[in-house]
Subunit: 325 residues, 2 copies
């Protein structure tokens, strides 16, 4: 409880000083300009970051380039991969998606045929699916998207220069308006750009994490018993409980407490979001959305990591199922 | 008390992560390298920052260049300007120095004749005595050291580029081993370089401010009634009490509590210290020391300022004289 009061002080004073302001740049910053912005550690909307090859990216081009290569696609009945979900047993679980291998044209076909009753497909493997740190270390880095690497820069030059290191992971994201990313934070510097479609971010600063009421949830996975059957929420055996926000849709007015000050940003094609480490983000997207992101390791020296840990809070976290037991 | 526990957590975790490490550079950083270091916000010892003209600075050159120009010199009986001092009435005061106008050759003469009984002279006007922000704004900036400006760069290029702004103040410091600067912190980015002599810094990170046991002290000034009489500690009327550390000599073993982790750095001629905002510093110096410093405004956006205020602690500060009353 003691620490909670300190967090409230930091949260309200941070908001008093910074408000909901975010910088908007009409063109990408220089490395030095970006280094200053990263020091401030607030989101920045960046326009004009051109990735020339990805302008060619329509379904036909991508299907022709990728051919029959199999990619790992997340499947859920509700569009909520890695999210808190109530199981038929009445308990809430943190549920990871079922993963299916398919060609990119199969994915486009699934996305185009989605209806209210169908499963939701989302390419969100987010493990450095285009480039991982092994690529930059030169130790071999096979990728399901090898064929698209020629179109996707491994590094954002002003970003790598500012941080003095290459990315830790570069990811491709493809999905529909039915996919939603539950609110969470990452200990990474994040450069997120929309190729087509749109992304609606709801952001909270690290200082407002207590508004998200993290709880411990048992772990589960969406599983499919046979190829023709539906998905089943299967509790995991031997998996540790997961600490996750109990606020399912923070973008819906009234779902956050009054001391939260969410920042809402919609990224259109060609727009890029700089999202600093520890910023909480919930993401919705438009139909037929393709995005790319570059994760860079955060600076661990100094106070940044210590402060993020403090703001998230140490000590025991209550179960998310206490009320239901 | 609640906030104090949080400060202790931040302090011990900050020390666990960073230890007493400081970076040492053999040559000045580029603007981008320095921007990264400023982000980490730990002290850096920088060698090889050459300020060519100041190599000419011996007493004769300085006396010839400055001529009869009057400079403002701090005078105390004990070498402790801006420090907590016990008055004959038994109470502790925060005492500012007496200030005398004299030529630079008079100052050198006073410094060379100092003995155990004499008053201590220290050029430490620290108000941007070489350049103030008005100089960079082009609005006219008279200086007692006008004649030396040709020798003193107004800006450190890699620093101005990293911060995206010119300095707020550039100061010249001239004194003897009898002058001591009591421990305090400034809300500025500080580049401090020694021209001759030496400076011994005792540093504590912002997270260890509570080790310094700040107290409120009534304000006083060293005054001289006539030109031939000694200095008298004169309590100020109508001055607000001053919040200051009650640890007089933090460099003496045992004077700091065990959870303080002081970093001791001695700067020799040609060496430069980057001291980030909020770092506590106590400074001793060798005989015949000349130094220069460049203060840059700190970045107020983001969390830095909020965190420094939090670490210093809000709420009532006890009187430094309670025990004696």
């Amino acid at each position: 409880m003691n620490s909670n009061i300190s967090r409230q002080i930091l949260s309200s004073e941070y908001h008093d000083l910074n408000g909901n302001h975010i910088d908007v740049l009409d063109e990408p910053p220089t490395a030095l300009e970006f280094s200053r912005l990263a020091h401030i550690s607030r989101p920045v909307l960046i326009r004009g970051m051109q990735t020339p090859s990805v302008r060619l990216w329509d379904d036909e081009y991508l299907a022709a380039t990728m051919g029959k290569a199999k990619i790992s696609v997340a499947v859920t009945p509700n569009g909520r991969a890695d999210a808190v979900t109530r199981a038929p047993d009445g308990k809430l679980y943190f549920v990871e998606p079922h993963v299916e291998q398919m060609s990119i044209s199969d994915l486009f076909s699934k996305l185009s045929r989605e209806n209210d009753d169908s499963d939701v497909y989302y390419l969100q493997s987010q493990n450095g699916n285009v480039y991982s740190s092994r690529f930059f270390e030169g130790t071999g880095d096979p990728s399901e998207f090898e064929a698209l690497r020629a179109d996707i820069p491994g590094e954002i030059s002003w970003c790598s220069e500012a941080f003095g290191r290459p990315p830790d992971a570069v990811n491709l994201w493809i999905g529909s308006h039915k996919s939603v990313t539950s609110i969470h934070s990452d200990p990474y510097e994040n450069i997120y750009t929309v190729v087509r479609g749109s992304k609606q971010f709801t952001l909270l600063p690290p200082s407002e994490g207590s508004c998200l009421q993290e709880r411990m949830y048992p772990h589960g996975t969406w599983t499919r018993q046979g190829t023709e059957t539906g998905l089943t929420l299967t509790p995991s055996t031997n998996a540790s409980p997961i600490r996750w926000s109990s606020v399912i849709d923070p973008d819906i007015p009234g779902n956050l407490p009054p001391d939260a000050h969410p920042i809402c940003i919609t990224l259109e094609p060609g727009e890029t979001l700089y999202l600093p480490p520890g910023w909480w983000h919930h993401v919705r997207q438009g139909a037929n959305t393709i995005a790319l992101n570059w994760w860079y390791d955060m600076e661990m020296r100094g106070m940044a990591w210590v402060l993020l840990s403090f703001l998230r809070g140490a000590g025991p976290v209550p179960s998310g199922n206490d009320e239901d037991d």
